[in-house]
């Protein structure tokens, strides 16, 4: 390798690693703080590597707080929203791509329009509706609320994936003896699977991290998800439980990290889909 080219490579590596460290520093600090003893927390000068490692914050969080209840709520909430959005979104996108009926394009545009509305605009009407339906303060109300803003996006993303599945494949399945639903399940779904998985991931992450709707629509511990639950539990006007907060943050991130680790290739395919999918 030429010396000039080598120095360029080294420089590029240094810059890249510098950026990676910069971006990942808050995450590293979060993990480090969560295992640092309480006494070391506000030590001056601060150290990156703790002198002692303790899991007392995690144990306290799991045993003495309603963290697990919030965690379960978030799990139920994100999973239910994802299932509803994927089932409705997949069938809806299929309909928009394959069937021709009056108002099809208008419908698609209207759906997108709801996505363009700021969330804040929808909160009050949705809250009032939930109260009238007797669903206030329930996980169901949040599932419905999250679906309203996750579905339009999912529908458009899935639509671009469905449009990429050649119509001949479905026609071939129909001629080969499949029913319309059979062709959908046997041929369309496997072909659109990367799109479905990436849409499911987006929806799950969206529901998992959502804060505003959860704050407004739910105010009982029975239905609180992690985002508002942890805030409510550990942050007060007088005190912030930094160690517990960091331990909670680490545990909140774990499901997403696991999902990303296993399905990241699908997710990146999903990112490209909206733009260039043929």
């Amino acid at each position: 390798m030429m010396p000039a080219r080598r120095s360029t490579t080294i420089l590029a590596n240094l810059v890249t690693w510098g950026l990676v460290l910069l971006i990942s520093f808050p995450l590293i600090w979060m993990v480090v703080t969560s295992v640092r003893p309480q006494t070391e927390l506000f030590q001056i000068p601060p150290t990156v590597i703790p002198r002692a490692i303790t899991f007392e914050h995690y144990i306290k969080l799991l045993e003495e707080t309603p963290f697990l209840r919030y965690f379960m709520n978030s799990m139920i909430l994100a999973t239910s929203t994802t299932i509803v959005v994927i089932v409705v979104g997949t069938l809806g996108a299929y309909s928009l791509v394959r069937f021709s009926y009056r108002g099809r394009e208008t419908l698609a545009a209207l759906v997108l329009f709801t996505y363009l509305l700021p969330s804040v605009v929808l909160i009050i009407p949705l809250y009032l509706m939930m109260v009238k339906l007797g669903l206030a303060n329930t996980l169901t109300s949040l599932v419905i609320a999250y679906t309203t803003f996750a579905l339009p996006y999912a529908l458009w993303l899935l639509r671009s994936f469905m449009a990429g599945v050649p119509e001949d494949l479905e026609s071939a399945a129909l001629v080969d003896g499949a029913s319309r639903m059979g062709a959908f399940v046997d041929v369309i779904l496997p072909q659109a699977l990367p799109g479905i998985i990436s849409t499911a991931l987006f929806t799950f992450i969206l529901a998992w991290n959502e804060y505003l709707y959860a704050l407004v629509m739910v105010n009982s511990d029975q239905a609180r998800p992690l985002t508002t639950g942890v805030m409510n539990m550990l942050i007060t006007s007088f005190n912030i439980e930094w160690s517990l907060l960091m331990a909670a943050s680490v545990m909140m991130s774990i499901p997403l990290i696991i999902i990303f680790a296993f399905l990241q290739s699908y997710l990146t395919r999903g990112f490209g889909a909206g733009g260039v999918k043929g």
């Binding site: 001949d168 026609s171 071939a172 001629v175 499949a178 496997p190």
Partner: protein, 372 residues
């Protein structure tokens, strides 16, 4: 063995009428090609037969059964698509077995049937591969295998050779002819390639603008085109088409073509024109003779292809396309004698495009194949 009938079938997409009214009766065991340029309605016709498009009006019958309201799966047909439409996530074996699975063939019987289809098409070593690991020709054979694995009543083929290279296409043409001979099933084949239609079909349906122009055996279509569209569409290079006039002179029709004047056989036309009739005349490149004759022609261009040359000449203000033997020596700019085989001149009404020949003189031995 089963017939296919289109009875006044009409298809419109919104305000656009693709097929205004199609009547077509395909006999049992025939290999019929739907031939025409892009957008002529041939694929729409095939898709209506498959049940993938719903006719706006009229009736489609397979055998005695009206199939208008039957789903594709209930029509007992198989189809090969231009894109092959192999299921990318399934292996070759699963692709071929899919129609069997969907039609409830017992699981135990499927492997033998798949193997039989694979053997017929020499797909044995490829059974565990995915479609993306196959060449175009292999994919085409898998699509055929999927179509014939369960012996349907009618085979539909939508330009199945158009994605293959010339050599493979010639090979697959022969294989398809052989397959039809062996199976004896009714096959409907869509193509825009007249060579495929001429070499493979028992009859050809030539279509243009959604209208059936002629439905006849390949020889008949070539030697007795029903109208100016068929005359111009069939044959490579195309016939020379020129406007002229015919008048009777002492009981014989005389054709005036630009400054050329030719006496035609007395029984050349189906009726005798009163006065002068405005006609369009068509002449095949091989029905023009160079080197003898009373007309003088100027050579514009010579296109040698090896075994023959295509020569463009001007005679009497008319540009003719002539086919000559490859060893004929001609130069652009040269003036040569030229004549037309008068009994082979096709005459059409200039307004309606309808054929006016009596078709006694033009009759030739049809290359009708009977593969049954």
């Amino acid at each position: 063995m089963v017939t296919v009938t289109f009875d006044k079938v009409r298809k419109a997409f919104g305000a656009t009428v693709a097929i205004p009214g199609l009547d077509l009766a395909i006999a049992s065991g025939e290999f019929v090609s739907l031939l025409g340029p892009s957008g002529c309605g041939k694929t729409t016709t095939l898709r209506m037969l498959a049940g993938l498009e719903q006719p706006t009006a009229g009736e489609i019958r397979i055998g005695e059964r009206t199939v208008n309201n039957l789903a594709p799966s209930e029509r007992d047909i198989a189809m090969v698509f231009q894109s092959y439409a192999l299921y990318p996530h399934m292996s070759v074996r699963e692709n071929i077995a899919y129609p069997l699975k969907k039609r409830g063939v017992p699981k135990a019987d499927r492997p033998a049937m798949v193997q039989a289809a694979a053997d017929l098409l020499q797909l044995g070593p490829l059974l565990d591969r995915k479609p993306r690991q196959l060449s175009g020709g292999q994919q085409q054979r898998v699509a055929l295998g999927r179509a014939l694995v369960r012996e349907p009543k009618v085979f539909l083929l939508d330009e199945p050779l158009s994605n293959l290279d010339a050599k493979l296409r010639a090979h697959m043409r022969a294989e398809l002819i052989e397959l039809h001979r062996r199976l004896g099933k009714t096959m409907v084949y869509v193509t825009h390639d007249q060579l495929e239609a001429m070499t493979m079909s028992t009859r050809i349906a030539v279509m243009q603008g959604g209208v059936l122009q002629q439905f006849a055996m390949p020889g008949e279509i070539y030697h007795r085109p029903a109208n100016t569209f068929v005359a111009g569409f069939i044959g490579t290079p195309s016939m020379t088409l020129a406007d002229g006039e015919i008048a009777m002179d002492q009981g014989r029709p005389v054709l005036k073509l630009g400054t050329l004047s030719l006496e035609l056989p007395s029984d050349h036309l189906s009726d005798r024109p009163d006065g002068t009739r405005r006609v369009t005349v068509a002449v095949r490149p091989e029905d023009i003779i160079i080197g003898t004759g009373s007309f003088r022609a100027n050579v514009r261009l010579v296109e040698p292809t090896g075994h023959e040359s295509i020569v463009l000449v001007n005679a009497g203000d008319v540009g003719f396309t002539v086919r000559v033997a490859g060893d004929t020596v001609l130069k652009a700019g040269e003036t040569i004698p030229l004549d037309l085989r008068r009994e082979r001149i096709h005459v059409f009404d200039r307004e309606t495009g309808r054929r006016l020949n009596a078709d006694r003189a033009a009759a030739t031995a049809d290359s009708v194949r009977s593969r049954a």
